[in-house]
């Protein structure tokens, strides 16, 4: 009896396993046998992106006789789902990748070197795409920014600076120059003039600015001639006097000069809301804000960020890329799909019209920027950031961003004026360096 039960159990298990296997195989065989080529495209994004890409994908399917299966996730879930897909060896043929992940994905053979495909392509003209966009996905085994191409940009996101024109006019302050950046002193001076109590109830209801350290500190650090890393990205350089000066100045806006809403009110969301209510003079403007800012009931425009001792303005550029999996069965079609998504004019137009990004194509961007009838009039500033003075976020150039996150984890006491910038930087540098060393070691570069 025991024996027969055992046999029965084995039979049952084999049968069930067989069922499972055929179930899986059925799916794969179905795709292969029908003769139709099938690609999977995984991305994240809002309804506007979905709409734009569905259109481009439809067009691509028609032109190439390829069936594309689209997987959309929310921004939060995307990294988890993609990594699960990779761990399960079900890597989508085409997917989004941030510059911060590129190094690891290339090192581990997940993404395909598409240099040959795109350079010889007739669907896409690399010269017509922003250099920063393409270069963010170049990697030579040591440094991001040079070498073979592993992805094409979905977009480039120049994080510009804006001001409330209506507020300036009401206060009788001369408008800022669109080409000549303020010095740090001039900026504080103007911000002070803008900070006031407009209705005479004894409390401030209008401020010069209100900036979030995580997303706004970079231009002031760079503009002051400092940076997070050295050239070959092996050393954390936040403990320099220039860096300390920039961070201290940033904190002083609130604690010494009082030109921002008070500590309790200074969180991003709140100053963002206040800017939109017309209570803030200077505030960052990103391409993905344009559709929201269109509805503002005051006039505004973009200007270069104030410059520190270097005398030069700077800003950061965000970007997201579209890469091809190394394990794809149809590399030609997959690369072609990437090209469609990157450079398809109609899709680009949909995204630009939706007010969430600037055009990926240089000629198209020129036409877009030449239109000064919609705000901001100085759209050129976005293009100058991309072509001229913008840089990638520091955390995006290394194997992982842990060392960069560490910088912001305990920074609040500095912003609140409870700790000096120099003290904080001296304390955080070794911790950041340790994270960077371990990241570089994992990547097999540097010390």
């Amino acid at each position: 009896m025991t024996k027969s039960r055992l046999t029965a159990a084995t039979v049952a298990m084999v049968a069930t396993a067989g069922l499972l296997l055929t179930g899986c195989a059925g799916g794969a065989a179905g795709a292969g046998d029908s003769g139709e080529k099938k690609l999977t495209f995984m991305f994240r994004g809002g309804p506007d992106e979905q709409k734009a890409y569905e259109k481009a994908v439809g067009e691509f399917e028609e032109a190439n006789g390829v069936d594309v299966n689209i997987i959309v996730t929310t921004a939060d879930q995307y990294p988890t789902k993609l990594k699960a897909a990779i761990a399960g060896r079900q890597i989508p043929d085409v997917f989004y990748i941030g510059p911060g992940d590129l190094q690891a994905y290339v090192k581990n053979g997940i993404v395909k070197d598409i240099t040959e495909y795109v350079e010889g392509s007739d669907t896409i003209d690399l010269d017509n795409i922003w250099d920063h966009g393409v270069d963010s996905y170049r990697f030579d085994g040591e440094l991001i920014g040079q070498g073979a191409i592993y992805a094409l940009p979905k977009d480039v996101g120049p994080f510009s600076f804006g001001y409330n024109k209506t507020m300036f006019e009401a206060a009788g302050i001369p408008l800022p120059d669109v080409d000549e950046p303020y010095t740090l002193e001039e900026f504080v001076d103007v911000a002070k003039q803008l900070t006031k109590d407009t209705n005479g109830d004894g409390t401030l209801d209008q401020w010069g600015t209100g900036l979030n350290v995580q997303w706004n500190l970079q231009p002031f650090v760079w503009g002051n001639g400092a940076d997070w890393l050295n050239e070959d990205r092996t050393k954390v350089t936040v403990d320099t006097p220039e860096f300390a000066e920039a961070l201290q100045w940033f904190a002083d806006l609130q604690n010494v000069h009082g030109v921002t809403p008070s500590v309790g009110e200074a969180q991003t969301l709140d100053t963002y809301q206040r800017w939109m209510k017309g209570e803030i003079g200077f505030f960052p403007v990103a391409p993905w804000d344009l559709s929201t800012y269109e509805k503002l009931d005051f006039e505004w425009d973009t200007i270069p960020y104030p410059a520190g001792v270097s005398g030069e303005t700077s800003a950061w550029i965000g970007t997201l890329g579209i890469a091809v999996s190394n394990s794809t069965k149809h590399p030609d079609e997959a690369v072609k799909l990437v090209e469609y998504l990157t450079a398809n004019e109609e899709a680009q137009q949909t995204l630009v019209d939706a007010g969430i990004q600037i055009p990926n194509l240089k000629d198209m961007a020129e036409t877009w920027a030449a239109d000064t009838s919609t705000m901001p009039a100085n759209k050129q500033e976005f293009l100058q950031i991309v072509t001229d003075y913008g840089r990638g976020l520091p955390g995006g150039n290394t194997y992982n961003g842990e060392w960069y996150d560490e910088f912001f984890t305990n920074i609040q006491p500095v912003i609140d004026g409870k700790m000096t910038a120099a003290d904080y930087l001296a304390e955080v540098q070794p911790k950041m360096q340790a994270f960077l060393d371990s990241a570089n070691q994992q990547a097999g570069i540097g010390g």
Binding site: A15, T16, P79, K83, I86, N108, G401
Partner: protein, 304 residues
């Protein structure tokens, strides 16, 4: 038919065999599910905890390096502490839900309505609820601070303040779990035999004595069940933390252990290290639950 009459015994055994076979096939499905989706991942994560693994390529065996790193990782210790701290909400939640259950156990109007009200958070999506509370906690125009302003209190910026972010998350977790514990207590209260109270009343026991000597011991099994499941659940608190304080809160003050594990595994390509932390967490939860069972057994003896 002919076989039946000739060899009845054999027929019976074949019939049994087919039945057994069918039964085993049914049993095999959940067993296979367990083997493939629980046991295999569990064993693999034990293995992964001894490797340097980025989640993309093959793991490399490194011995106990991850465990050594963990002992020296201040963020690991802090996230453990944060998780423990937030578990202080569990007893508070149990007391409130027992009080609510007692209130709703009385004969009064609209009890069904109140039960529904208190149970509603339990069935609501945690993600939606977390976003709602994030707004409620907003320092400037959040519902909570506006309400506090009515009584003249200037509320803090809940989620941005190291001192208030953990209590804020605890309050929300208590609110979310209240209905569930309340319902279980309600069921337990209703199954307490009436005659115990009657007998106690005849012996001259007051309300408080009745509560201490009858109600509390009678709902004890439910309390035990709730404590065990809440501790297991509480040690894995993640979604609300990730949504309400996506960067781990001001100065890492709301980062829980599961949040830290998740961040290491999926943001910073350290799946091996993350696995070793989850092994430690799993062992701790097992240990705590074991101790609880032990204590519970001892207490039961003292009652008898």
């Amino acid at each position: 038919m002919t076989t039946t009459t000739r060899r009845p015994t054999l027929q019976r055994s074949t019939l049994h065999r087919t039945e057994h076979r069918a039964a085993l096939a049914f049993v095999a499905i959940p067993v296979l599910g367990f083997l493939i989706f629980t046991l295999y991942p569990l064993l693999y994560s034990v293995y992964a905890s001894f490797t340097s693994w980025n989640g993309l390529s093959a793991p490399i065996f490194v011995g106990i390096d991850n465990y050594i790193a963990m002992a020296n990782d201040p963020y690991f210790l802090q996230s453990m502490w944060n998780t423990l701290f937030m578990m202080l909400g569990i007893p508070i939640g149990l007391v409130i839900s027992l009080v609510l259950a007692l209130a709703l156990n009385r004969k009064m109007r609209a009890t069904t309505f109140f039960r529904t009200v208190y149970y509603l958070p339990v069935i609501s999506s945690i993600a939606a609820v977390a976003i709602l509370w994030q707004w409620a906690y907003n320092g400037d125009f959040g519902l909570i601070n506006q309400t506090l302003a009515f009584v003249g209190i200037d509320g803090p910026n809940w989620l941005q303040n190291t001192a208030t972010v953990k209590p804020a998350l605890m309050i929300m977790a208590i609110w979310k779990g209240l209905g569930y514990s309340m319902l279980l207590y309600l069921a337990a209260l209703q199954s307490v035999p009436r005659h115990l109270y009657e007998a106690a009343a005849l012996d001259g026991a007051g309300t408080i004595q009745q509560f201490r000597n009858i109600t509390l011991p009678m709902v004890r099994p439910v309390t035990f069940f709730l404590v065990v499941t809440s501790v297991i659940g509480g040690s894995q608190i993640f979604v609300e933390v990730n949504i309400m304080t996506p960067t781990g809160g001001p100065e890492f003050s709301s980062a829980t252990i599961v949040w830290y594990i998740w961040q290491k595994a999926f943001d910073n390509l350290q799946m091996g290290y993350a696995s070793s932390m989850s092994i430690v967490l799993g062992l701790l939860v097992f240990l705590i639950t074991f101790i609880q069972f032990r204590l519970n057994r001892r207490n039961q003896f003292s009652i008898e």
